[in-house]
């Protein structure tokens, strides 16, 4: 189809002098002189330049932009490690209740008991799911949870008079793990994976030292494999006094099946925006609560929400706390959604989630196995990786090309080129919320793409052709950074 008027003009290009999208009140108090109250050096020299548009045009602009998106509501979105499950609408309904949205963080607790009760109950639910002693709801995102957790571990060792600053991380880890360690002043040592994709215990034994503060593992890992040696790993660490950290990005596979605390995990983070169905919002907000074993609890951020004498209160009296990592108490609006979700599901529903997530991934893996290389044999947990190495070697079609072709079929591509240890990697996580029909359709499309790689490889190289723009020149974007519109002076 010919693309007419494909550009949506920038806000700034649509601006019409004198227009505004709001109708603000007249000033109803006697006006003071701004220039008398504030020294001229501290006043804006010229009015800030912002677009001038009527509400109608603002609405059309952002509505049209929203039409240039793929989203969970409209598309299958098997983005590995991101758990793009359906986001139930009752969560949004709850989070939008004015009683929740209108709370000020410094209100008297007496006036905000409902929100505090929700936080306290969410804490308890997450403690039980983790099998750990105490949860902090403060961290703003998964990576922020990792950072907070590493700070807690560090404070724990300082309290014992130790200054351990080494962290072990498997080569399959998310990039946030080493980055969080660095931000916390820890040095990172990489532990190799075995050919089976699991932590190499010999390499672990060789790399652990008395300076090892922790090992950060993701289990199931980013290959979709549950590391059955987790207890052994915990034992190796604990014998040297080190802590076992679990990156909870993949909790969707195991909640209700096994509790991290029962595996010897000392500290973990959750991603409420993955496991507990809070929407991803084009990159956020998320929330990354952490759960810790008893010996780490004194070091959690303050204040903690608590229940004392029939009243919900803030406990500031935590002398060993690392302090604050985020303003106020965390991503409350995200907590409301996660709480709503967990209460809707209940004990049996939570287990059903991981049951179906793992079932869907294995089913899909089985359907794709004839056409793509599965570097690690099934069964998998909630996700699996395929390699397009064969398509690349035989026909010059890379994982990136397949990804772009999927877009033309109305499917958001899987995570590509991660984990780093698999070449031409595509990491597929269908989640429990997709139908059998969707899984079958995806498998059929992937089969067709594999066949077309043989018969008509140009199709893949040209993709996508159905989107408002064809392949985007990312090299140019990086070489000549244009990060903002410039008004003509």
């Amino acid at each position: 189809m010919e693309k007419i008027d494909h550009d949506i003009k920038l806000l700034f290009e649509q601006s019409v002098e004198g227009q505004s999208g709001v109708n603000l009140p007249q000033c109803d108090v006697p006006e003071a002189s701004v220039s008398e109250a504030i020294p001229s050096a501290l006043l804006a020299a010229t009015p800030v330049r912002l677009p001038e548009m009527c509400e109608r045009e603002v609405t059309r602009h952002f509505t049209r932009l929203s039409e240039r998106m793929m989203s969970v509501d409209a598309n299958f979105y098997p983005l590995g490690s991101c758990t793009m499950k359906y986001n139930p609408k009752i969560n949004e309904w709850a989070a939008d209740l004015p009683g929740f949205t209108a709370g000020h963080p410094y209100q008297d607790v007496q006036d905000i008991q409902g929100s505090m009760e929700l936080m306290y109950r969410l804490r308890q639910l997450l403690e039980e799911i983790a099998g750990l002693s105490e949860v902090s709801l403060h961290p703003a995102a998964g990576a922020h949870g990792e950072l907070t957790a590493m700070m807690v571990v560090r404070a724990y060792f300082r309290d014992r008079g130790e200054n351990r600053d080494e962290v072990l991380i498997p080569d399959t880890a998310h990039g946030t793990n080493p980055a969080s360690c660095a931000l916390c002043g820890e040095r990172v040592t990489i532990v190799k994976s075995t050919p089976e994709g699991l932590v190499d215990l010999d390499d672990l034994a060789a790399k652990i030292t008395d300076n090892t503060a922790a090992m950060m593992i993701t289990n199931p890992n980013t290959l979709g494999l549950f590391d059955k040696s987790i207890k052994k790993i915990a034992d190796i660490l604990h014998q040297r006094g080190a802590q076992l950290y679990l990156d909870g990005a993949n909790m969707n596979a195991i909640m209700g099946q096994v509790r991290p605390g029962d595996c010897g995990v000392d500290v973990m983070h959750y991603n409420l925006h993955k496991t507990f169905s809070t929407p991803h919002g084009c990159g956020g907000p998320g929330a990354g609560p952490i759960a810790v074993a008893e010996h780490l609890a004194p070091f959690l951020p303050a204040p903690q929400v608590d229940f004392v004498d029939g009243k919900y209160v803030w406990d500031f009296n935590r002398p060993k706390s690392i302090g604050k990592v985020r303003t106020f108490y965390g991503q409350f609006g995200v907590m409301v959604r996660a709480y709503t979700y967990i209460r809707a599901l209940g004990h049996s529903g939570i287990k059903n989630v991981s049951d179906k997530a793992v079932l869907a991934a294995n089913y899909l893996g089985k359907k794709l196995e004839p056409f793509y290389t599965l570097p690690y044999p099934l069964p998998c947990m909630h996700e699996f990786v395929i390699s397009a190495e064969k398509q690349k070697d035989d026909h010059g079609i890379r994982a990136l090309d397949i990804a772009k072709q999927l877009i033309d079929y109305g499917i958001h591509p899987p995570t590509i080129y991660f984990p780093l240890i698999v070449s031409e990697c595509m990491m597929i996580e269908p989640t429990e919320t997709e139908t059998l029909e969707t899984l079958d359709r995806f498998a059929a499309i992937m089969q067709r793409i594999a066949e077309q790689a043989r018969t008509n490889p140009e199709l893949a190289h040209q993709a996508p052709v159905t989107t408002p723009v064809s392949r985007v020149d990312e090299v140019k974007a990086a070489r000549e950074p244009n990060l903002r519109w410039r008004y003509k002076e």
């Binding site: 677009p51 209108a102 008991q113 995102a141 990159g283 985020r326 106020f328 599901l345 079932l359 919320t433």
Partner: protein, 448 residues
């Protein structure tokens, strides 16, 4: 279960395809002794109606700014949110998408983020910004680490008049770093450039200020900038974006790195989150910025297009050498802010700032006319000010106001024992003269 796409009947077919007898067999890699073997100790599932009743009853137990007239600020403000913000930001195409890694499938939000970046640069007067941080506090801490990396220095000076929670967060972030923090005393509410100059040395990486500061006061930012620049350090300023409709932008005053709290830009107070951190800087520091950056480029046919760019700074590529560990940011909140700023536009943005200024000054002028109350600081202010109660306990003011359906302000004693007799009062454009007069009446009733 309504959220699962797979019916019980289909499970059999899927298991047969996989070649296992039971779903449990798929979990065989989890050692039997670690398996839970029973249901979690969680409540029973809830039907939709019971769940709605439960949540409604929790929400109804709150008495927030929907039911009470709020003069609470201190980093979270009751500003007007145009309904168009909710209508557009709740479109599920935005709400349920992920980070725009696949540019061709995400042009909508990439353009929105590019517009957000542009508007943040415009209101702050800075060259470059990213596509959001978590909130102001952790953004401040990240700015300090950025200044350390740029200057290679190890000391940071922070105003006593910077939000105490932001200072606490900086302390937490720096606890494991070989850095020292010194507090710049502000007994008059603002930073005195000569006092500051005496604290700066050749190891000072940055001075961190807030403008307007935590007490609402305006600091001589231009002179502060001169003092730190003379020692080749950087100036970091935390800003309230609403103030920038009236107050000089940090770019105009020589600030090197700006961070701020975007909550006033169309976000609900939400009991403290999610909010919107932002960070903007001079172009020289572009490659030191944490977080995601959106760039304009072209597609292969030369048409305008947008994508994530300069990703080699980021953790998923650079890992432990990344500028930060930030991955998830506050995307949807940045979209809200972009819609807010577009709807407000040039005139609305100025008007809101002016209304805040006028109403706050009216409220202050009325309160200081009452026996027993005065402004704690003489410095110029924007929309927030500190009232000192010379004769009566602050709690009495708060209590009496609450009886009248008003949230009078934030008491300062928990952070500043020396200001135990003080109340921080915020007045936004939403407060009507009648509401302000009702607050003044409370003071009058107490003061007599």
């Amino acid at each position: 279960m309504a959220y699962s796409g797979i019916s019980q009947k289909q499970v059999r077919h899927m298991l047969d395809t996989i070649g296992v007898a039971r779903i449990d067999d798929l979990f065989a890699d989890i050692p039997a002794e670690l398996r839970l073997g029973k249901l979690l100790n969680l409540p029973e599932p809830m039907d939709d109606l019971s769940l709605q009743n439960h949540l409604r009853s929790l929400a109804n137990r709150n008495h927030g700014t929907d039911k009470l007239i709020s003069f609470l600020g201190a980093g979270s403000y009751d500003h007007f949110i145009p309904p168009v913000v909710d209508a557009l930001a709740s479109r599920s195409e935005f709400v349920t998408a992920y980070t725009p890694y696949q540019a061709e499938a995400s042009q909508g939000v990439l353009q929105a983020f590019y517009e957000f970046q542009t508007m943040i640069c415009e209101i702050t007067g800075m060259d470059v910004t990213n596509a959001s941080m978590y909130e102001a506090g952790s953004a401040t801490a990240e700015a300090v680490l950025m200044a350390r990396d740029i200057t290679g220095r190890s000391k940071v000076l922070i105003g006593q008049n910077v939000h105490p929670e932001y200072v606490q967060i900086v302390r937490t972030y720096l606890a494991s770093q070989p850095m020292t923090i010194e507090i710049i005393p502000t007994p008059t509410g603002t930073i005195e450039p000569s006092v500051l100059a005496s604290l700066i040395d050749d190891q000072t990486a940055a001075v961190v200020i807030q403008q307007p500061d935590f007490f609402g006061c305006l600091n001589p930012v231009d002179k502060i900038a001169d003092a730190i620049h003379a020692a080749k350090g950087l100036l970091i300023s935390v800003v309230d974006p609403i103030s920038l409709g009236l107050i000089a932008g940090p770019g105009q005053l020589g600030v090197d790195i700006v961070v701020g709290e975007g909550q006033p830009l169309g976000l609900y107070q939400n009991f403290g989150g999610p909010y919107l951190g932002f960070m903007a800087a001079k172009s020289a520091y572009l490659r030191r910025l944490p977080g995601r950056l959106i760039g304009m480029t072209t597609d292969h046919e030369g048409r305008r297009a947008f994508c994530l760019t300069l990703q080699t700074r980021e953790q998923h590529i650079r890992r432990e050498r990344a500028t930060s560990n930030i991955c998830s940011n506050e995307g949807l909140m940045a979209i809200r802010a972009a819609i807010y700023l577009a709807a407000m536009g040039k005139n609305g943005f100025f008007q809101v700032a002016n209304l805040c200024f006028q109403k706050a000054h009216y409220a202050a002028s009325q309160i200081v006319g009452i026996e027993g109350f005065e402004l704690a600081f003489k410095a110029p202010f924007f929309k927030e000010f500190v009232v000192r109660s010379k004769k009566f306990p602050v709690d009495k003011v708060i209590h009496e106001a609450r009886q009248a359906g008003l949230l009078a302000g934030v008491p300062l004693e928990c952070w500043y024992p020396e200001l135990g007799d003080c109340l921080l009062v915020a007045v936004t454009e939403k407060r009507t003269r009648d509401e302000i007069d009702a607050l003044v009446d409370v003071f009058r009733k107490i003061g007599g």
